[in-house]
Amino acid sequence: MINQINRLLLLLFLLLFYSTVSKAALEIDVSEGNLRPMPIAITEVIDKQNEQLGLGLDITKVIASDLAGSGLFYPINPKAFLDEVNSLDRNPDFNSWRVVNAEALFSAELIFDNERYRINYKLWDTFSEKSLEANYLVFSENKWRNVAHIIADTIYTRLTGEKGYFDTQIAFIAESGPKTKRIKRLAIMDQDGQNPILLTSGRDLVLTPRFSPNGKELVYLSYRNGQPQVYIYDIQSKQTYVVGTFPGMTFAPRFSPDGRKIIMSLQEGVGSNLFEMDLGNFDRKRLTNTSDINTAPSYSPDSSNIVFESDKSGTQQLYVMDANGDNVRRISFGTGSYSTPVWSPRGDYIAFTKISKGRFMIGVMFADGSGERIITDGFHNEGPTWAPNGRVLMFFRESPGEDGGAMIYSVDITGYNERKIETPGYASDPSWSALMN
């Protein structure tokens, strides 16, 4: 008490002293801003040698589309530009870019040499008039989309302080045919829905594909030979491997963050338990041993913990345990049931599907179960997956009715900027890869 009074007095003295003796600058606290997408001018990539090929324009469009799609940027319509950038060698006239409200300016040029392209690019802050990034990439023509995504990621990083997520892929289940006899095939595409590739024929039912951390393999569930088992698909060699020989049905697989292990469920009687399998020596390790349905495991990014769903309390709820299976604690306590937990690559949040009053919602909560927040709500939303920067989620949404089907959506973790990802047909079970390059 006396201590507190003393402290208070000291503070008072200091305040008096400060206000009378020092003639400091006026201080103003600003705590409310104006959140809006940042206006950015993206000038057409200069291509003096081969302008007629249109590659410069294509790259420009992909960069602008990536940034606009993030919801954090507002690429200014080029028709409004008062100036153009013809060369990267000299500084632009910043004033003419400020006049059109551009807070940042991006310009690039293509140089074709020895069957390869080189793209030099620069990013400026138009108000402080300083260069934020100046770099180049060398690439062969068929990689132009990747290059555009990589550059968009760089811009995103320099202006938001967070890693980008544009140079990534999505593994998903491509669905076709009538609802009663739907054909499901393993597929991958770029995160913007471009370059979709079907990986399996559709003869066997496949579900829950998950990317390996290096993006080269998929682990998934297939009903090949009638018995549901976990398989690995090597994207480059197009080879399929079965993961171990288990006595029952294995499902809900996922890679460990280092890519060396797979964690999954094994059916045991009426319930299921979690197992971890080492891909180096095929050792398997039991993590749970109860008669409940324990499934949908997901590692924390540091591999120290595992989140999973279990019905040990009567309904499906989320639990976290140490990576060796000890110290199981329940983290979800809201009304309804919780499933498909996925730990954010940032480590802060866990995304989940919540079923309450007949509605399927996607939500996030902190890893200790606090701060639950529903991000999207509706007839049927399921299966969240995280962008590598932990800022955006994808999930699939089923539409009701005979002709209804699943489509993939992306949404910011704030719940804003929900967008449908264009796919050739119905698509479900998305899995977001890490950055590819």
Binding site: I5, L12, L26, G161
Partner: protein
């Protein structure tokens, strides 16, 4: 060994605290005595004044609106007590005659809504008691004061003149201070332009300080981040703050107080916006 000095220190500190709380002893306090009564009286007079203003400004304004903006519920109980002296006072100023009968009934409904019948008589009593303590002259005096205050509000023509004269009229005095309203005006100018990064890890805790030096025309002569750039996300937050300061310039601050706003240290704290 230190017990004595500490206890002396504690007593002195306590004395100091008591002085802070109660204020310095005053020898002419008796002058302050009747103040509280005036306050209460003022409140009771307000409806009459607002009533007049409403009547003058827009006669079409609906009865329900009038009720919303005037404090009639506070007054009505005392009006209903017929033997109150204040009934006469209020009648002299004719606020009640101007309210229609229907409106009056609605007011009663509102009274019922806001205060239970058990409380109503109590309210009447208190108001009556307070009002009977006042004589009409005092009442009138206060009314005149308020009216005088209201009269001080210039009409449109006067405002135009005042703005024209402003720079000449006000002297640049060394003891001039920036008022809370002016600070709030400065703040709102910069808030428009501040678009803090929302995506970064710990975005809400990215508190950034920027020192700016201004020219007297409101343009910026120097911007310097006070916060040190320690990592990528901090740098983005600093850039956003600098951009806010630069993109909002020139600023419209009172020219006669230039010495006071020549240098401003802005603290950008996104915690309120982004949660944290």
């Amino acid at each position: 060994m230190l017990a004595k000095p500490i206890s002396i220190s504690v007593i002195l500190h306590l004395l100091f605290v008591v002085i802070i709380i109660t204020g310095m002893p005053s020898f002419d306090r008796f002058e302050e005595a009747p103040m509280s009564i005036v306050e209460i009286e003022l409140i009771n007079n307000l409806p009459a004044i607002t009533q007049e203003i409403i009547e003058d400004d827009s006669k079409q304004e609906s009865a329900s609106n009038k009720k919303k903006y005037s404090a009639t519920p506070n007054v009505k109980p005392s009006m209903r007590s017929e033997d109150s002296k204040n009934m006469n006072i209020l009648e002299n100023e004719e606020p009640i005659e101007k309210t229609t009968k229907a409106e009056y009934q609605e007011d009663e409904n509102i009274m019922e809504f806001f205060s239970t019948p058990e409380i109503k008589p109590e309210l009447n009593k208190i108001n009556d008691k307070l009002l009977t303590n006042l004589d009409y002259d005092e009442n009138k005096k206060e009314t005149e004061k308020v009216t005088a205050l209201l009269d001080k509000f210039p009409d449109e023509k006067d405002v135009g003149e005042m703005i024209d004269k402003k720079p000449q009229e006000k002297n640049l005095t060394s003891d001039a201070i920036i008022t809370a309203g002016e600070i709030s005006n400065m703040r709102s100018q910069i808030e428009m332009c501040w678009n803090p990064p929302v995506g970064v890890r710990g975005a809400a805790s990215q508190r950034v300080q920027v020192m700016i030096t201004l020219n007297s025309d409101g343009t910026i002569s120097k911007v310097e981040p006070v916060t040190r750039n320690t990592n990528g996300s901090r740098e983005v937050a600093i850039n956003a703050a600098v951009r806010a300061v630069l993109s909002c310039a020139p600023y419209e601050f009172p020219i006669e107080k230039y010495e006071l706003w020549k240098e401003i240290k802005f603290t950008f704290d996104p915690r309120n916006m982004l949660g944290g």
